[in-house]
């Protein structure tokens, strides 16, 4: 059960499923004075920046 939970949280993190929660945590710690991006804006921004460099190989 513990292993399954660890796998699930690994899968969420590696696929980027929990990226917004992580961003909120980081934002609250680093910039508590500013409002964070909304879920949709964050996801759009994240996708746009991820694909401007070599991300996949042969």
């Amino acid at each position: 059960m513990k292993a399954l939970r660890a796998f699930w949280s690994w899968l969420r993190e590696v696929s980027g499923d929990d990226a917004y929660e992580r961003y909120l945590a980081h934002h609250a710690a680093a910039h508590p004075d500013r409002a964070p991006l909304g879920r949709r804006e964050f996801f759009n921004w994240r996708q746009a920046t991820a694909w401007a460099k070599v991300k996949r190989c042969c």
């Binding site: 690994w10 899968l11 969420r12 993190e13 590696v14 696929s15 980027g16 499923d17 990226a19 917004y20 992580r22 961003y23 980081h26 934002h27 680093a30 879920r39 949709r40 964050f42 996801f43 759009n44 996708q47 746009a48 920046t49 991820a50 694909w51 401007a52 460099k53 070599v54 991300k55 996949r56 190989c57 042969c58």
Partner: protein, 675 residues
């Protein structure tokens, strides 16, 4: 006592590895099974990782616990300290592409032994070391890219060579991958319908993740994967339908044009619509299927029907020309050592590392796993009867069609019957399997027979098209991501001369640069399709040479950094693989340019065809395309010269930098003063 236990364990691993290697190398005449290869591989990887990899990390690179860029900068965007297993997953998903599946399949024409040896030895001493050293160097330099490091450490010449090399390899890679899926889809309504369905499925997933449930990656991917499996089944239904099947039944040229249009669209459209969702699907599909293949092979332990060595080691091979040295080392690039990995190991992964000591597990370990994938592909190819393997992988221009092909292949000592091929094609749900060159279809046949034996008989056609879909989806992902990256690189480069062209969101520049990139690979794809000898014969060696030269550039950067940072005693860690790659690529390039054999040498091939054309001995359909083929072979010859020129230029630059450093350090430190 624990120390003794450990020693005995590692002695056991070494003994088992030696035994397995001995068994593989001395088995002649009687077929061996897959466990021998897997046992040898696991032992070689264990020792390579635990002994050599760990030694290089701790004694040569001197990894320590200093804060990584992710920890120091931690901007929540690019630099994010991330769990090591998550970084491992990201890194492995990034480096594992179609290369390690295709290369070993083609190299099986030499038998299983040369490919196996090179995959194992090349990975532990070359590929893993390259990936780890570049990952380490980039981590120590705030995640700088390979091109930037080449410029910083070697100078503008090295930096320029790395940029040109990267762009060229992208173009060649995309064209050869495109050719491979064209060969899987030509006149196959089932495969074409299934692959075509992946595009609307990706768009649907993209819309879901952007608008319906923003950022829910796993939900979207689960829906997409379910739809993909449905598309495999749906393709079979289309294939049975009398009118629908004609919509998806096309010759190679229309499919090639469709792929070019697709590549252009993916480079120009917003990423959320097509590229990103397709990548999620392809990553899940890829990792899932590779894991399934590994489980099936280990469980089933299939017998390898391919001999250890075939007569084609002398250079007479039908799939591609050239002797086992140097061409097995060119054909299997990814899986043993791949220059492309240096692009991911620098720039992206270093910005996520939480602990520098993890370069060993992530850099060395991921490449080891990739090498294991290559070994799986080799096993899947060697499980086929050799006669069947050659019938699928040899172009009609080389062995003729149907009965003629069967007679020719049988005459080589690899018996195959026409009825056998027809029955196999019927089982796989295809009209014919003859001349489906490029490796993907024969891999799919191998995978289908393994999967159906392991997970249920009678589903061969579904498994075959599942395997085709699995290969096509991530070949297309490499194709569209590569076209987009090529567009960015070209814009960046042209921006040096015309600043407006460097603006990545200015539409005229976007359209122009995307069209230039698609035009470049589209040209090679077109030539590959019209070439009666199959095109793979020309394109794959060219791709291998360019990928190995990129690896050599990365190793040059690594060697220069080792020397400049006081690790010159250990320069051979990257210097030895560099020397080997230099020998291999230079020999291969020399033969491709200078050989008198028209199948091997580009210029000899062009001259031979020109003489035949002038003599009027070509049949009309060949004469029609001959001028284009002649031009292309000459172009490929000059490209090869350019690649090798780049390599030697950067080698000379590395030598200059290292010598200068040695001279300075010996002048600064009196004799005997340096330990």
């Amino acid at each position: 006592m624990a120390e003794w236990g450990k020693r005995i364990f590692w002695l056991g691993v070494a003994a088992l590895g030696a035994l397995a290697f001995g068994g593989i190398a001395t088995a002649r005449g009687e077929p061996i099974n897959a466990w021998w290869l897997i046992a040898a591989a696991v032992c070689v990887y264990a020792i390579g990782f635990r002994v050599y990899g760990a030694w290089v990390a701790t004694r040569v690179l001197l990894v320590d616990g200093r804060p990584t860029p992710a920890v120091r900068i931690n901007d929540g965007r690019d630099f994010v300290p991330t769990n090591r297993w998550v970084v491992f997953g990201h890194h492995f998903a990034a480096i594992a592409g179609p290369g390690p599946l295709v290369g070993p399949t083609l190299a099986a024409q030499f038998g299983y032994l040369p490919g196996t040896l090179w995959i194992l030895i090349g990975a532990v001493l070359g590929g893993c070391i390259q990936d780890m050293v570049i990952l380490f160097c980039s981590t120590r330099r705030d995640g700088r890219s390979l091109g930037q490091m080449a410029r910083d450490e070697l100078g503008p010449v090295g930096g320029g060579a790395a940029l040109v090399g990267t762009l060229m390899i992208l173009v060649i890679l995309i064209s050869v991958l495109g050719l491979i899926i064209v060969n899987a889809m030509k006149h196959s309504p089932w495969a074409t319908a299934t692959v075509a369905a992946t595009i609307p499925i990706a768009v649907l997933v993209g819309v879901y993740m952007r608008s319906i449930r923003p950022g829910r990656v796993l939900e979207g991917s689960a829906i997409g994967v379910a739809l993909l499996l449905l598309a495999v089944w749906g393709g079979g239904w289309v294939d049975q339908h009398p009118t629908l099947r004609t919509w998806f039944d096309h010759g190679p040229l229309p499919i090639a044009y469709a792929i070019m249009v697709y590549g252009f669209a993916a480079a120009v459209l917003p990423v959320w619509l097509l590229l990103a969702p397709r990548d999620y699907l392809s990553t899940f599909m890829k990792l899932g299927t590779v894991a399934l293949l590994a489980v099936a092979i280990i469980w089933l332990n299939p017998v390898l029907h391919m001999p250890a060595l075939t007569p084609f080691v002398d250079g007479s091979g039908p799939i591609f020309a050239g002797k086992v040295f140097p061409f097995v080392f060119i054909t299997i690039a990814c899986g043993a050592i791949s220059g492309f990995h240096a692009l991911v190991s620098s720039g992206t992964t270093p910005k996520l590392l939480t602990d520098e000591r993890d370069v060993h597990m992530i850099g060395y370990g991921s490449m080891m796993l990739e090498s294991f994938v290559a070994l799986m592909a080799l096993i899947a190819a060697c499980v086929l009867e050799p006669g069947v393997f050659f019938a699928i992988n040899t172009a009609p221009g080389v062995v003729g069609e149907g009965a003629q092909a069967v007679a020719t292949i049988s005459s080589w000592g690899f018996p195959v019957a026409l009825e056998q091929m027809q029955e196999l094609a019927r089982q796989m749900g295809e009209a014919t399997l003859f001349g489906r060159t490029g490796g993907a279809p024969s891999l799919a046949v191998g995978m289908a027979s393994i999967f159906s034996s392991a997970f249920g008989q009678g589903m061969l056609a579904v498994w075959y098209h599942f395997a085709i879909m699995f290969e096509a989806i991530f070949i297309l992902t490499t194709l569209d991501a590569g076209t987009r990256v090529g567009r960015f690189m070209l814009q960046d480069f042209l921006g040096n001369f015309v600043p407006a062209l460097g603006r990545t969101s200015w539409y005229p520049s976007v359209l122009l640069c995307s069209a230039l990139v698609v035009g470049a690979w589209g040209y090679f794809l077109y030539i590959g399709v019209i070439d009666p000898a199959g095109g793979v014969n020309i394109l794959w060696p060219l791709f291998g040479i360019s990928n190995q030269i990129l690896a050599a550039i990365a190793l040059c950067v690594g060697t220069a950094i080792l020397v400049k940072t006081g690790r010159e005693r250990y320069f051979w860690v990257t210097g030895l693989p560099l020397a080997w790659l230099t020998a291999v690529t230079s020999t291969a390039a020399w033969q491709k340019v200078m050989s008198d054999d028209p199948r091997l040498g580009f210029f000899a091939g062009a001259n031979d065809l020109a003489a035949k054309l002038a003599g009027g001995v070509l049949p009309p359909e060949k004469a029609a395309v001959a001028p284009q083929l002649i031009f292309n072979m000459r172009l490929d010859g000059w490209l090869t010269v350019l690649f090798v020129g780049l390599l030697w230029l950067i080698l000379a630059d590395t030598g200059r930098v290292c010598l200068r450093h040695w001279r300075r350090s010996s002048a600064a430190v009196p004799a005997g003063g340096r330990a």
